[in-house]
Amino acid sequence: MSNAQAAFKRLVLGRPMSSGELEHTLLPKIIALPIFSSDALSSVAYATQEILLVLGLVGISALAHVAPIALAVGSLLSIVVISYRQTVRAYPSGGGAYIVAHENLGVFPGLLAASSLLIDYVLTVSVSVVAGVDAIVSASPGLHRFDVEIALLFVAFVAIANLRGVRESGTFFAIPTYGFILSMYVLIGTGFVRCLGGCPVAESAHLPLKPEVSALSLFILLKAFAAGTTALTGVEAISNGVPAFRYPQSKNAATTLAVLGTISISMFLGISWLSHLMHVRYLDEAKYLALTGHAERSVIAQIAFGVFHGGPIFYFIQIMTAGILILAANTAFADFPRLASILARDRFMPRQFMNRGDRLVFSNGIIILATLASLLIAVFQANLNHLIQLYLVGVFISFTLSQSGMVVHWKRTRERGWQRSAIINGFGAVMTAVVLTVVVITKFAGGAWIVVCAIPVLITLMRSINKHYDSVRNELAHPERRPLDRRPGNQHVIIVVPDVDAAVSRAIGYARSVRAADVVAIAADPAYSAPWHRLAPEIPLTVAPGGHPDITQVREFIHQKRAELSENDFLTVMVPEILESQHLIEVFRHPRTYRLKSGLIRDRGIQVLDIPLLRRQIDPKVDQAHEPARNYAFVLVSGVHNATLQALEYAETLRPVDLRAVSFGLDPEATQRLGDDWLRDRIPHPLEIEDSPFRDIGLSLVQYLRQFRPDGLDRVVTVVLPEFVVTKRRHQILHNQTALLVKRRLLFEPGIVTVSVPYHLSQS
């Protein structure tokens, strides 16, 4: 990365933090409450409104039912909070629905919970942000036209805050959360006081409601109740986040959860009761627009406007509501990547999700979440009522599974007082299961079907990823593999000649130093014959038939050569490349070379050695074909398995002065295992495990290699990368991400060549 790039990254995302600084991001309760409760509290901003929307379909008379429905939702909320307080105590290391369901109920329920949660997190971001934009539009109706754009901007904003890391965001997030709590209580308090002398009337109180449903049926009541249960979303956030709390973690988390429940229920009931007293009516956005000609205000905005007659307090409430909603998305930004990393550890998701970025956050998960949420917002045109139809299915599946899992947990552990705990969780599970059924039935046609269909797709995907990783692991560990003959005489070299230039000269020098059994060259243009013979008379040059540089011809030549060799032989294809500039765009400047390399990697028994050379590093006074006296070979390893062993055997044929295996420690447990396996199997080469304190393998590797002062002429460093080749191309994305990153990073490092040693998996 260039200096300017690094400075920009630091300004936006903050300085890289060393792994140890992870510890210091533990949160006190006062900061943890706003971080983990913004999701749960913010749903107060739209829960009442959703109930009114459904009841309004029946007519004005039905609106009176908002109070009993709100009470029912409030009771359900308290049941779930009490139930989750037990989870927090039983799982101090974080008891998300996935962990609880996976441990207690089995793999399938675990995956069901996991896929529900992943979908739920994406929706939390979209719904919260869109509702936040609604709050802004309520205060400033002119912005209505830009709601999609504003929403997307806010998603990007929260994503960046999270790429910076949670604590700094935490202090920042405290303001809108506490501001929202304060403003809701001021609103409810003032509203009730004013009601003593005759309630203020909401602006929509005289709106004609055309009944669309003939009578108030049980179905409508259930539908209104289901709509109101949005108030429950986000309650589980604390149970995921116990490890982020200060010690004693479980106790602090349980206390915070109780506080959250109390605040949430009181605010929700207060707002619902006020909406009833003030005769607030709420219509579908489009219908309201057709009826009145201007954009509809949210229910909270209507109440606040009525109570305070507009004025500064009204605007303060709107800003705080928007603030907490937009930052509620933050809960999902903490939980989605964390769950993805747990799933990756359990090999249900690609390994890349396990990597923390240099700010100690799971960068990949954050980026994926932001992308998916933005997509939903764009597709649904930032329409809250439509988006909310998708919500809740995932929420209640995970509630139900998590609490059922807890019942099994208590039965299994039989701690003191386990029966009482089991009954509490069991009751919660039954209640949420009933609500789940209601939600699915009442919301299916409105959009819940999308989620109902997406969950099995996700489960299937995760299972197939898991199956793939398992079969690869079994195959790699298989001791059947015959070692290859590693004498230099078994090394054969083909130099691909795109042009007779300095890079090709370096390849010649390198090939000479290896003392391979034979070296040949292939060019596409007959014009290269004469200069080639002056440069390397001892290496025969074949000109591919066809005249024009055609990859298939070159590949065919290589295949023919490979067919002549025995299985014990290595065939190295050297690809010299001149790079004009130090930009990544260089990778795409030679699409033919790129295609040749990526094609060759899938062909059996071929190793591809890259010799890149920056144009400005070429010294015309020096003989570029000089044979390097010292070749240091480093095999990048991740574990003791067949691919590593083959790469070591290969590296030996390069006749290096020093050969070592190198690994960069990101996960202390994994490196410990690597070291012990190395000693146990008595691998006849030294292994070095180097710390990567800022978890940037590229940077650590470059710093490590520079110790050997490679210049490309006299001193060369060869980085040997064992790579997996899988039979199904779509599985390829699950592997070699590190190798890819390393190759890209080393491309511009002088004197360093990289070689891919593919290991073909059969996955029988």
Binding site: R10, S18, G20, Q672, G675, D676, I689, D691, P693
Partner: protein
């Protein structure tokens, strides 16, 4: 966080900040010499964080080396004839006592030192 503080923090490299943290940690341990001030062939007690572990099973005897850093310099601890890492981990704190000598590339090496592993300043 004051503005000058922010500017100062932006101006320093992450490596510098880490080195300073390490120096602070070593200063909190009793009776140790910082690596930069170690005198070869004189018995000393030093402390540092494990930055690199080298395992060499060649020549029939297992050699394990751990390179520690303390924000001033580095030193290698070398054990012969060990067949497992038993707790030696990257990022762990290593406090050791022995007679350091110069290794092949000039780095100081302590052969079979007496040692204790402690939680590093960074890995809890």
């Amino acid at each position: 966080m004051s503005v000058s503080n922010v500017i100062e923090k932006l101006g320093r490299s992450p490596e510098d900040i880490r080195a300073e943290n390490l120096r602070g940690w070593v200063a909190s341990i009793d009776h140790v010499t910082t690596l930069a001030t170690v005198i070869p062939r004189k018995r000393t007690r030093v402390a540092g964080v494990i930055q690199n572990i080298r395992i060499d099973p060649r020549n029939g005897r297992d050699a394990i080396e751990a390179t520690i850093i303390d924000g001033t310099d580095k030193m290698v601890a070398k054990w012969l004839g060990r067949s497992s890492l038993s707790g030696i981990q990257l990022g762990m704190g290593l406090i050791m006592e022995g007679v350091p000598g110069a290794g092949p590339d000039g780095t100081l090496v302590m052969l079979n030192p007496e040692y204790v592993l402690v939680p590093g300043p960074e890995h809890g």
